[in-house]
């Protein structure tokens, strides 16, 4: 018997227009925030062709597939979920996906794969890391990489902050491409404090 989530995904997939047939169910998840649910195509020299599906879920919304720990924040934070599809026309395996962070105040953490979310059977990441020096969430597929015609498992991280779009890259050896994908926006309080600090500096200079 099909699970409710799978049936919902299949019914959504059947409604898709043919032009977006390469994307998986995550890109059409009706529970994701609409402006931040979709798919972006990467093309590095016509050799590495990757579709990165994404969906951002408001706190407490990320679907529970019946396995504990799908949402590492236990419903307390936004969930940023991604799934990479390496097209059959690719001549290369995919090794790395890097989601850029606006700054080190985005609150991104809890980077983990969720292999049982929606389209299962994908390649598991070898490692996931929130790197606050290079300002990126780096997901590596090394053993094995995602082959041409294959796809990754869903990989995600959480943040208390709502989404914006930020530079995101795929890499395979000497081939790379950059597009935009969802990433957390630092909380307004941080910007508020920065603005206040700036005002204080300006006032002191004038004095």
């Amino acid at each position: 018997m099909l699970s409710v989530a799978l049936r919902r995904s299949l019914s959504v997939m059947m409604l898709l227009p043919t032009s977006v047939a390469l994307a998986g169910p995550l890109a059409f998840d009706p529970t994701g925030i609409p402006q931040f649910t979709g798919s972006v195509a990467f093309n590095a020299s016509n050799q590495l062709l990757v579709d990165l599906d994404y969906a951002v879920f408001a706190p407490g919304v990320y679907p529970d597939d019946g396995v504990n720990g799908d949402d590492p924040s236990n419903g307390a934070e936004y969930v940023y979920a991604y799934q990479a599809f390496n097209r059959t026309a690719s001549t290369r395996a995919l090794t790395t996906v890097s989601v850029g962070l606006v700054n080190d105040q985005t609150g991104a953490h809890n980077a983990v794969p969720d292999p049982l979310h929606v389209l299962t059977g994908g390649v598991l990441p070898s490692s996931m890391e929130v790197n606050l020096v290079s300002l990126s969430v780096i997901t590596r597929f090394l053993n094995p990489p995602v082959p041409a015609g294959g796809y990754s498992s869903v990989f995600l991280f959480t943040s208390p902050n709502r989404p914006t779009y930020m530079t995101t890259s795929v890499l395979s050896g000497g081939l790379v491409d950059t597009q935009m994908a969802p990433s957390p926006l630092p909380e307004p309080a941080t910007f508020g404090l920065l603005a206040l600090g700036g005002l204080v500096v300006l006032r002191r200079r004038r004095a």
Partner: protein
């Protein structure tokens, strides 16, 4: 107040060289190398990455490193083969990097290593891991916790039984990328001849099969 500004300016001038690239760029014009030089990487899409990569290639048996260390998770390289050396220089206006990747120009890659002492500078960043991927073509990647901007990597080494041509190379982070072309192994003439003969044989067999049918 004016005096304070002058002191600040003087301190600033003294501080700039400290922040600049302290590398001795040992690969550019490296003694005994078959070819050497430096390539500026071009940002891909919306990217602020600003990177130069120095390179040098040695023919089999002519490379003598200072301290050769294995790159975790990658096969160890062989100095008895062609040695391809790279050093990533992340320039001041850039952003911290985590990955350097390079394609072969069609030839096979046999191993990786790094030499933390080839460049006497002490602030060079060593890779924490690396990997060789067998494919069409083979490619290699070196992983860093972060090469700051400004900053530079240790000398990264790759071995292959095959002589060099230029192939794609890349760096990544902040979700951004930059790329260039660097020397990398290319299949030897014998391999190309064998490949052509193999293709010819397949074509001839197919033709015979079609005629037979």
């Amino acid at each position: 107040m004016k005096r304070l500004f002058l002191v600040a300016a003087l301190v600033g001038c003294l501080a700039v060289p400290a922040l600049a690239d302290l590398s001795t760029h040992p690969l550019v014009g490296a003694p005994g190398s078959l070819l050497s030089g430096s390539v500026h990487f071009t940002p891909i899409g919306p990217s602020t990455l600003d990177v130069d990569v120095d390179f040098a290639v040695w023919t089999p048996g002519t490379f003598s490193g200072v301290t050769l260390l294995p790159v975790p998770f990658a096969p160890f390289f062989s100095p008895a083969e062609y040695v391809y050396a790279y050093q990533v220089h992340n320039l001041p206006a850039s952003h911290a990097l985590t990955t350097f990747g390079i394609d072969s120009a069609g030839g096979s890659l046999t191993g990786l290593a790094y030499d933390p002492d080839f460049d006497p500078a002490v602030s060079d960043v060593a890779p924490y891991a690396g990997s060789i991927f067998v494919g069409t073509p083979d490619f290699a990647e070196f992983y860093f916790s972060a090469i700051p901007a400004p900053g530079f990597s240790t000398v990264l080494l790759m071995s292959s039984p095959l002589a060099p041509a230029f192939a794609s190379a890349s760096v990544i982070n902040l979700g951004q990328t930059a790329a260039g072309t660097l020397p990398s192994p290319v299949p030897g003439p014998a391999a190309v001849v064998l490949g052509t003969l193999g293709l010819g044989l397949v074509g001839w067999l197919k033709k015979r099969y079609i005629q037979g049918a």
